[in-house]
């Protein structure tokens, strides 16, 4: 399963890593429900993932502004893109229902995004924080 917490996704900043772990757990729960075609279960899981993602992004962005992180805008755009694409996926899901094709599409999209974002921009931000001995705090 693609959402198990992989050590190579850890960025070495405890608070962020914990939030990423929770994000991946919620993504996993959603994908399981999609694969089971569990119509009733999907709705709250979609909301729970979107809510958590939003608050996690806000938390990262707050730290970035607080520490005047030079990569703030590009990083925030990545977060916005995720939320936009997420809305698009939900829309498709409502149109087509929880078909096996939809489950595969959302699974692939989520796994890819997590890998790219956590392993890319988030890792860069973590490295930047660690190099300065800064810690987040929100």
């Amino acid at each position: 399963m693609a959402f198990e917490w992989a050590a190579d996704l850890a960025i070495g900043v405890e608070e962020i890593d914990e939030q990423h772990g929770e994000l991946l757990r919620r993504a996993e729960r959603l994908v399981r429900a999609l694969e089971a075609g569990d119509r009733v279960g999907i709705e709250p899981l979609l909301r729970s993932l979107a809510d958590y993602a939003r608050s996690h992004f806000e938390c990262e962005e707050r730290w970035m502004l607080h520490h005047e992180y030079p990569g703030f805008e590009a990083h925030r755009d990545g977060h916005r893109r995720f939320l936009d694409e997420f809305r698009g996926q939900v829309h498709e899901l409502q149109r087509l229902g929880p078909t096996p094709g939809m489950a595969t599409a959302i699974h692939g999209w989520l796994a890819g995004w997590m890998r790219d974002h956590l392993g890319g921009p988030d890792r860069d931000f973590g490295r930047w924080l660690r190099a300065r001995g800064l810690s987040p705090g929100c």
Binding site: L65, E68, Y69, P70, G71, F72, A74
Partner: protein
């Protein structure tokens, strides 16, 4: 009680470095006036710094806009927060009427902010501007 611009804070952009030096000079004067309790001078310097800071930030923000600088928004937000905190500080001076504790607070808070902002955010901006100018 003093605050000084040093070569270590140079970002390599003449306009920006010049304004930073003036900022430090005036800030140092403000600290001095606060130590002496020279209320007229304090008021004048608070006014001067408020407008000079806005002018300096405006200069940097214009340079960023002209260069289509990618870090514009974050940098501008950092400036805005500083202005807000500065005005709040001034108000607390007016309410409390000065004193050593407030003077030390000003030195530490403004000094730390300026050093951190210049060494990080302004430095990154200046590098990009210098690189762009070739």
């Amino acid at each position: 009680m003093a605050i000084k611009w040093t070569q270590a804070l140079a970002v390599g952009h003449p306009t920006i470095d010049g304004q930073h030096q003036e900022l430090f000079r005036r800030l140092d004067k403000l600290l001095e006036a606060m130590m002496k309790g020279d209320r007229d001078e304090i008021g004048r310097l608070f006014d001067f710094l408020a407008s000079y800071v806005v002018e300096h930030f405006g200069t940097e923000e214009k340079l960023m806009r002209d260069a289509g600088y990618a870090g514009y928004e974050m940098h501008k937000l950092a400036h805005e927060r500083f202005v807000k905190d500065y005005l709040a500080f001034r108000k607390s001076y007016e309410d409390a009427g000065g004193g050593a504790a407030l003077t030390i607070k000003l030195q530490n808070w403004v000094g730390d902010w300026l050093k951190a902002h210049i060494a990080g955010t302004d430095q990154v901006l200046a590098k990009a501007l210098v690189k762009r100018a070739g």
